[in-house]
């Protein structure tokens, strides 16, 4: 799912050295805008995703909902979540939210990933899995605050939405955007999308009577490259468990932000120690060579050839 030829890489999972090409070329941060207030749940984006990415069909079962399946899957990266939202005051809404990878600015999956180069973040913000480097440990699954990466037990690899990095690299919009009939999906630079989203949210507040309308772009993970306009941004949980304050699990932040630097610091200390040792103790001196003791192997047992 990679397109290293056209997109510049900004971060690489578990990569020890510098990132090749980092900062060599400035790329605008991209962003997908999902206006849930004009989504009609038609699933054109779901179909476009399956078809563009050539994913195998799977058997689904009726589950008392219009939703195609309970959650995204390794071969189903884009799912509209349908929620019947009944309020105590009698008001009712049918909320539909396109659920897919949020392409976090600070991706928990990438932080969690121990395999060198299995997850990369391009400098345009897209977080992409490189299945050829994936070791199938599923740490990314635990690292994701949105429950996005999905494991394929057959290939033992993890998959998710690529924000169509292959299309974006070629100057096209993601397949879901292209398929959306109502224009509730937009794609462009993050700045432009934020501008559009905020405008729409203020229209919803001022004209449509949604006083809590707002934009979902959670700063707890440095913002996302997929943002939502919500009728009620104060309660994103109503839209199929969209977390109000998504966080990368502590273990991974501790790992990357504390233990990993400590480890690196330890390693550096060791190196400094070695250098100091050289400085103060000088190079290793030639030691007298001990006498060579020759041990012959026992002869093979005779008469047993096969």
């Amino acid at each position: 799912m990679s397109d290293r030829g056209t997109l510049r890489i900004q971060q690489i999972s578990a990569h020890p050295g510098p990132v090749a090409g980092e900062g060599a070329q400035r790329q605008d941060k991209v962003c997908k805008l999902i206006d849930t207030t004009t989504c009609i749940g038609c699933k054109a984006c779901e179909v476009a995703c399956v078809e563009w990415n050539d994913m195998p069909f799977q058997t689904t079962y009726f589950d008392n909902t219009y939703q195609t399946m309970p959650d995204t899957d390794w071969n189903y990266w884009n799912l509209i979540k349908f929620n019947e939202d009944q309020h105590d005051d009698g008001s009712f809404a049918w909320l539909m939210r396109k659920h897919q990878c949020m392409h976090c600015e600070d991706p928990g999956c990438l932080r969690a990933c121990p395999a060198d180069g299995a997850i990369v973040q391009y400098s345009n913000g897209i977080v992409d899995f490189q299945q050829e480097n994936c070791i199938g440990c599923q740490f990314c699954v635990s690292g994701c605050p949105f429950n996005i990466p999905k494991f394929n037990p057959n290939t033992k690899k993890v998959y998710k939405c690529t924000l169509c990095s292959d299309r974006v690299g070629a100057g096209l919009e993601p397949a879901c955007i292209k398929a959306c009939p109502t224009g509730c999906l937009h794609f462009g630079t993050k700045d432009d999308m934020k501008f559009l989203a905020e405008n729409r949210a203020s229209q919803l507040r001022e004209v449509s009577g949604f006083q809590n309308a707002g934009v979902y772009d959670p700063d707890t993970i440095g913002g996302t490259h997929v943002i939502y306009v919500l009728h009620d941004a104060t309660k994103p949980e109503r839209y199929g468990n969209l977390p109000a304050k998504p966080r990368i699990p502590l273990s991974f932040t501790v790992w990357k932000d504390i233990f990993k630097p400590i480890g690196l610091f330890g390693a550096m200390l060791g190196f400094v120690g070695v250098v100091m040792h050289y400085v103060f103790e000088g190079p290793r001196r030639e030691q007298p060579t001990p006498p060579v003791v020759r041990i012959d192997p026992p002869p093979p047992p005779a008469g047993k050839e096969n």
Binding site: T37, T38, C39, I40, G41, C42, K43, A44, E46, V47, V50, E51, F57, Q58, T59, T60, Y61, F62, D63, N64, T65, Y66, T68, E84, Q86, F92, A93, W94, L95, M96, P181, T182, G183, C184, R200, Q203, V207, S208
Partner: protein
Amino acid sequence: MTNGWIDIKNTDMMLIMGGNPAENHPCGFKWPVEAKRNRNAKMIVVDPRFTRTAAVADLFCQIRAGADIAFLGGMINYALENNRIAKDYLVNYTNAAFIIKEGFKLPEDGLFSGFDAATKIYDKSSWNYQEGGNETGKAVPVSAAATPAEGHEAKAAVVPVSTAAKGAASTPPPPPSLPPNIAYDLSLQHPRCVYQLLKQQYSRYTPEMVERITGIPKDQFLKAADLFTSVRKNGDMKKVATIIYAVGWTQHSFGTQIIRTAAMLQLLMGNVGRAGGGVNALRGHSNIQGATDMAGIFDILPGYLKVPNPTDKDLKTYLDRITPKPAKPNEWESFNYWSNTPKFMVSFLKAMYGNAATKDNDFAFQYLPKVDRNYSWVNIWNDMYEGTVKGMFAFGMNGVMIGPDSQKNIDALKKADFLVVCEIYPDETSAFWQAPGITPDDLKQINTTVYRLPGAGFAEKDGTFVNSARWLQWKNAALPPPGDCRLDQDILAQIFLKIRELYQKEGGKFPDPILKASWAYTLPAHPSLSEVAKEINGKALADISDEKLGISLKAGQQLPGFAMLHDDGTTSSGNWLYCGSWTEAGSMQQRRGTEDPSGLGIYPNWGWSWPANRRVLYNRASCDLAGKPWDPTRSQVWWNETAQKWVGNDVPDFKPDSKPEEHMGPFIMNPEGVGRIFVPLGAMADGPFPEFYEPIESPIENPLHPSQSTNPVVKKYKTKMDKYGTPKEGYNIVCTTYRLTEHYHYWTKNNPMNVELVPEPFVEIPAELADQMGIRGGEKVKVTSARSDYIAKAMVTKRIKPMMVDGKKLYQIGMPIHWGFLGISEGEGRTAKMPANLLTPTVVDPNAYTPEFKGFLVKLEKV
């Protein structure tokens, strides 16, 4: 649609009712969303369920299925009571000021004047205008003024007259016609002027009555009525409201009248003919509009010419019968465009029979079948069930599945001699003998010979689609038909050629219509659709010229438009409405110009829309009397004083040089020239004003007139299969049927991607009802109607609420129609292999003959 898809973006207010465009027209639904986003337009959705469309609406009202006329009638009453009407428009562009003949009676008791209980047919002679002239301000006895409060007096006054009319009906009177000089009262005060009758008629549709009938709480109805009519606050004409509907309105035993009510409301508010306004039918298939235009209905010929009947002994009799004469106040003008009917008809006959159609033989008028009975859908199947129809060609539809009462249709096919099905999948119709419940012994009794012809899918054919906006758009074939499949036009052509060969060899009673039919295609067995399209457009058969239009054509040249059609046999055109779609300049349908100078979404160089590439019908009405647009920011057409003609961004739908002073009506297809709030004479079978009637299967008695609960002219079918349920028998849940975004009728159940999206049929059940019955989501339920039963899984939802209808608690349920007994999930045994239409009743609208799929009665039980 009077307007078009893109035009919806110009609106300020949408009433979406009897349709679920987000579900069924997701691509077109872009435009309502644009209107919301870019114009702050409001959207009101009225539906039995909280739908995908309702999910993005500003206001949603849950209505009882079939109560639409009560809701819209209440809206009319609200607009009248609160002066939310377009006064100038109403007086000058509609028949509001026209005076109706004495003897006409409003249906306070459920019946208009002239009803014959024995035949269930109205004598419509009293549904007519009064002959006269300008009665403005004259002779209006105050005591007789029909104000709502005096409704009873008015009733008492007219009843004896109506009885007299009934008596007179025994001797057949000469066919009534519209008076040439209609009496009118511009002050709208005459007690029998249309406006006063309208007021009186809908004064009964109070908010309280609307609540009793529709189940929509009064305050919510008032909110909707206030919001919708707010575009006409203080008589300001700038804003525009649109009404958008689909088969949720047509599929009732009073469907045509629902649409009439909407049209009346729009005329009352001055919304017809204007950008962002109109009455907009969303067509449910990609080419349904084209099918209708090209006579996919038994009682019309292409271009909505009426079909001849046995009384039409020659062309002249026929043309006299169907060509309307102007009928208007003397002081006004009427274009009466249908006066050109003879030109359309003769050109059609020339297209049908070519050189065999001559002046001497009435242009081969006698070759056309004279239709002597009702050949509408349900009738055909009823006739087959009764054994009079012996065979059927089923092209482009799955007959067993789409009609009401699937079991009756299956049983009808068992009695047929032959069935020919052209499809791209093996469908339930061609496999009717595999329907559930048919045993091997039954199978031995079925002697129907079934021929399956593998047709081509839409992407395998070129040709045009005509969309809801009347746009003819050419498409190219994406790939050839696979395997042995053949293009549908090839199949039909080869059947025709074979039949003609048989007639040539063996003769017959009347071989000429077949032998002499024009078949001038380069490859007769493989007619190219571009040749057919050119033939439909039509050409000059002799050198003709028109000085006024400044056009002269050589024989053989394509016609530039229907203004060039002649009734002397010098032109041919397969459908006058499409004349102009393939001219000497080439195929207008293939144009792909994306320029839109006005910004109104007119795109004049994209494809071609009938009539005459006009995007909004009746657009003269977008201007005031002087010919200036009501809203200059949405200028469609206007009167150009210097040029002395109508010009504009759109093609004016008007006589181009008719000065505003001439007072020509904008509704040029009516002989009156004005919009009909009151429909005179026989145009409607069931009344000149819409009246609310209960569906044939209804949970309550009609609160307006319990003695005449249902539509009086609706006829029920009489075979043993035609059963209708009542609440007394325990059928007390209202059920409705519909489609899903994820599926296309009965095709996509063969396609894995669609099946993945929605794998199984279901029944949507209100959560409260499910709780009462102990039904959990995913459990199987059985829905039983008087016809049959249907088993599927329950979808327990909060999107359908219980409602209070006429003081009684009522539940509604609904089900999608997409599954049958052939398909992927059916094959895997994951569904119950049942068509939803097993449940629906065989009863039809008396005007359009559309079955009542929406709002029938069922019982519900857990399996």
